[in-house]
C-alpha cells in the first residue's frame, strides 16, 4: 500500500520504472483504486479481528486460566476435544441444525414469493415475522419458557384438540428439546430471510413477468422459471449466512431457553465454547474448540460453494 501511495505521488520516478517494467506499473495503477478502497476495512479488520484471532490460536495451544501467563501444551487441547463426549455431543447437535438448512433456505423464500405474488395481508405478515429479530433474546427466551411449560398454552392447546397425551415439558425432555429449539430458532429467523428474499424480489423486472404472461405461462411456471432463478444469488448469500450462524450465533437464545440442558442434549458448539470459557474457566480449551469450529465452518462453506457452483453448471 505504501508503494502504491508513493507511485501516485512521484510521477517522475514512476516513469523511470515504467520504462523498465511497463506491465507491473500498469497493474499497479490499475489496482491502486481497489487497494485504496479496501484499505480502511482491511486495516480495521486486521487489528480488531485477525490479530485477536491469532492470539486465540495461540491460547488454544496453551493451558490458561485466563489470568496467569499461558503454559504451552502443544496440541493437547485439540487431542482432548476428540475424546470429550460433551464436545462431540455439541458438534452432533450443531450438525442436527445443519441438516435442517434446506428448511431455512426454502421457507423464507416461499413466504417472500407469496408476498410478492400479492397474497392478502402480505405486507402485514412480513412485518409481523420480523418482530422476533427486533426483540432481545432474553424476552424471546422468557416468553417461550412460559408458552412451552407444562401448564402453558401449547400443552393446553394439545389437550383441547385431543392430543393431551403429547403434552410434555418441551424444553426439558431429552428427545423434544432440540426439535423445540430448532423450531423456535427457525421461527425467529423467518422474518430476516423473508426480508432478504423480498429485497431480491423487488428488483425482479415486471417486464419479465409480463413477457411470461404473454407467453401464456401459468403462475407456477412463471415462479419456477423466472422468480426462483432470480433469487439464486440471494439464496446463496442467505444459506451461507445461516450456516455460519449455526456455528456462532445460537447461544444467546439457547442460553435463555435451555442453558444447553437437560444434560447436554441441547448444547450446541458455540454454547459449549462459551461455557468452557466463562463457566468452567478453561480458556485454552475454549480457544481450541473455537479454532476447530472455524476450520469446520470453512470446510463446510467451501463444500457448499462447490455444490452451488456445480448447480450453476448444470
Amino acid at each position: 500500500m505504501v508503494s502504491t501511495h508513493m507511485s501516485l505521488q512521484r510521477p517522475a520516478a514512476e516513469e523511470a520504472a515504467h520504462s523498465r517494467r511497463p506491465a507491473s506499473r500498469r497493474r499497479w495503477v490499475r489496482w491502486a483504486p481497489a487497494v485504496l478502497f479496501l484499505a480502511p476495512a482491511v486495516a480495521i479488520l486486521a487489528v480488531f479481528r485477525v490479530l485477536p484471532f491469532v492470539y486465540a490460536g495461540y491460547y488454544s495451544l496453551t493451558e490458561w486460566d485466563g489470568i496467569e501467563p499461558p503454559t504451552f501444551v502443544g496440541v493437547d487441547n485439540y487431542a482432548r476435544l476428540l475424546s470429550d463426549p460433551v464436545a462431540l455431543e455439541a458438534i452432533k447437535n450443531t450438525g442436527l441444525l445443519v441438516l435442517t438448512l434446506p428448511l431455512w433456505i426454502f421457507l423464507p423464500m416461499a413466504i417472500a414469493i407469496l408476498v410478492h405474488e400479492g397474497m392478502w395481508l402480505g405486507r402485514a405478515i412480513r412485518l409481523a415475522l420480523v418482530i422476533p429479530i427486533l426483540l432481545s433474546p432474553a424476552i424471546i427466551g422468557l416468553y417461550f419458557s412460559l408458552v412451552l411449560r407444562l401448564d402453558g398454552p401449547v400443552n393446553e392447546l394439545l389437550g383441547a384438540i385431543g392430543l393431551g397425551g403429547l403434552a410434555t415439558e418441551w424444553l426439558a425432555e431429552p428427545h423434544t428439546v432440540m426439535p423445540a429449539f430448532l423450531t423456535i430458532a427457525l421461527w425467529g429467523a423467518l422474518g430476516l430471510g423473508t426480508l432478504f428474499y423480498g429485497a431480491g424480489l423487488a428488483s425482479l423486472d415486471d417486464e419479465l413477468y409480463e413477457a411470461a404472461a404473454i407467453d401464456g405461462a401459468s403462475t407456477l411456471q412463471r415462479v419456477r422459471h423466472v422468480t426462483i432463478p432470480h433469487l439464486r444469488p440471494v439464496a446463496v448469500f442467505w444459506s451461507l449466512f445461516v450456516l455460519i450462524s449455526f456455528f456462532t450465533a445460537m447461544f444467546p437464545l439457547l442460553f435463555t431457553l435451555t442453558s444447553g440442558g437437560p444434560g447436554h442434549r441441547s448444547t450446541t458448539i458455540d454454547l459449549y465454547i462459551y461455557q468452557a470459557a466463562f463457566e468452567n474457566f478453561d480458556f485454552g480449551y475454549s480457544a481450541a474448540l473455537g479454532t476447530s469450529v472455524l476450520l469446520l465452518v470453512a470446510v463446510l462453506a467451501v463444500i457448499q460453494l462447490r455444490l452451488i457452483a456445480r448447480g450453476d453448471e448444470a
Partner: protein, 286 residues
C-alpha cells in the same frame, strides 16, 4: 404496486388462501412476544405473580418510569445512539467501499472471490473466543473507555457481514454501466459515489438496519470496553436491572427496561419497512 401485480387475478389470491391463513397464524405468533413484553411491562409485580401469561387486571406505567430512572436510561440511550449511529455509518461506508473494490475495480476475479471468502471466514470467527484478545488489543492501543475504541470494534464485528452482503449486491450491478463510466473518464471515487451508491442504496438501507439492530443489542463489548459508568450504553443499563439475588422482585421492571431498549430498533424497522421493501425498485438492478 405495479401493473403486473395489479393485473394478477383475484383467483390467484384465493388459491393462495390456505397458505395465507397459515402464515397469518405464524405472524400472530411472531407478533405475540411483543404484546407479551408490552403487557408485562405495564402490569404490577403482584399482578404478574398471579400468572405471567394471564390477562392483567391493572395497568401501571410505574415500571417504565422505574426502569428509566433506576438505570438512568435517558443518558444511556443518548450514548447508544451516538456510538451505534457512528458505527453503522462507518460500517456501511467501509464495507461498501471494500465490496465495490472487490467486484468492480478491476481486480482479478480470483482476488475478488478470495476477498469475499475472507469476509465470510472473518464472519465465522466465534466472538466468545475473541472477547479477551479484543479487549487486550483495545487496551494496548489506549482505546479503552473511549467511544473510538468501541466504534472500531463494532465496525470490525459488523463489516465482515457488510462486505459479504454488499459484494452479493454489487455483483448484480451490470459491469457495462461502470465500464462505460470508466471509459468516459470517471475516477473510481466518482463511479462509486455517483453510480454504485445510488444503485446499491436499497441494499445499503438493509445493511444499515441490520447493523444498527445488531449493534444496538450488543451487551458484551460495550460492557467490557466502556467501564466508565457515565459512558455506558443502554443495553448495559438494562442488564443492571436484572437482580439474581433478590429473585423475581424485578421481573416487570426488567421487562420494562428491555422493552424500552427494543423501541428504537422497532421504530427504525417500521419506519424503514417501506423503503426496505420498495427499496430495490424494479429496474434498479437489472
Amino acid at each position: 404496486m405495479s401493473t403486473a401485480v395489479a393485473t394478477r387475478a383475484r383467483g390467484q389470491r384465493l388459491r393462495m388462501l390456505p397458505a395465507t391463513v397459515m402464515l397469518a397464524l405464524v405472524g400472530v405468533t411472531t407478533a405475540f412476544p411483543l404484546l407479551y413484553a408490552l403487557v408485562t411491562a405495564l402490569r404490577t409485580q403482584s399482578d404478574y405473580g398471579r400468572g405471567s401469561l394471564a390477562v392483567p387486571r391493572e395497568i401501571t406505567f410505574q415500571n417504565l418510569q422505574d426502569a428509566w430512572q433506576a438505570a438512568g436510561l435517558g443518558r444511556l440511550a443518548v450514548n447508544s445512539l451516538i456510538v451505534v449511529s457512528i458505527s453503522v455509518a462507518v460500517t456501511v461506508l467501509v464495507s461498501s467501499m471494500a465490496a465495490f473494490a472487490l467486484v468492480h475495480l478491476g481486480l482479478p476475479a480470483r482476488v475478488g472471490r478470495f476477498g469475499t471468502l475472507t469476509a465470510l471466514f472473518l464472519l465465522a470467527l466465534p466472538s466468545t473466543v475473541l472477547i479477551t484478545p479484543i479487549f487486550k488489543v483495545t487496551l494496548d492501543l489506549g482505546l479503552l473507555n473511549s467511544y473510538l475504541g468501541l466504534v472500531l470494534v463494532y465496525v470490525s464485528l459488523s463489516s465482515p457481514f457488510g462486505i459479504y452482503m454488499m459484494t452479493t449486491y454489487f455483483r448484480a450491478v451490470p459491469r457495462e454501466i461502470l465500464q462505460a463510466a470508466e471509459v468516459d473518464g470517471a475516477s473510481a471515487p466518482r463511479r462509486f459515489v455517483s453510480i454504485a451508491i445510488p444503485l446499491a442504496r436499497p441494499a445499503m438501507a438493509t445493511l444499515t438496519a441490520l447493523t444498527a439492530l445488531t449493534l444496538w443489542n450488543d451487551l458484551l463489548f460495550s460492557l467490557i470496553l466502556i467501564q466508565d459508568p457515565q459512558r455506558r450504553t443502554l443495553t448495559v443499563g438494562v442488564s443492571l436491572l436484572e437482580s439474581s439475588f433478590a429473585q423475581s422482585s424485578s421481573a416487570v421492571v426488567l421487562t420494562a427496561g428491555l422493552l424500552i431498549s427494543t423501541l428504537p430498533p422497532l421504530v427504525l424497522f417500521i419506519f424503514m419497512n417501506r423503503s426496505l421493501m420498495r427499496g430495490l425498485v424494479a429496474g434498479a438492478l437489472k
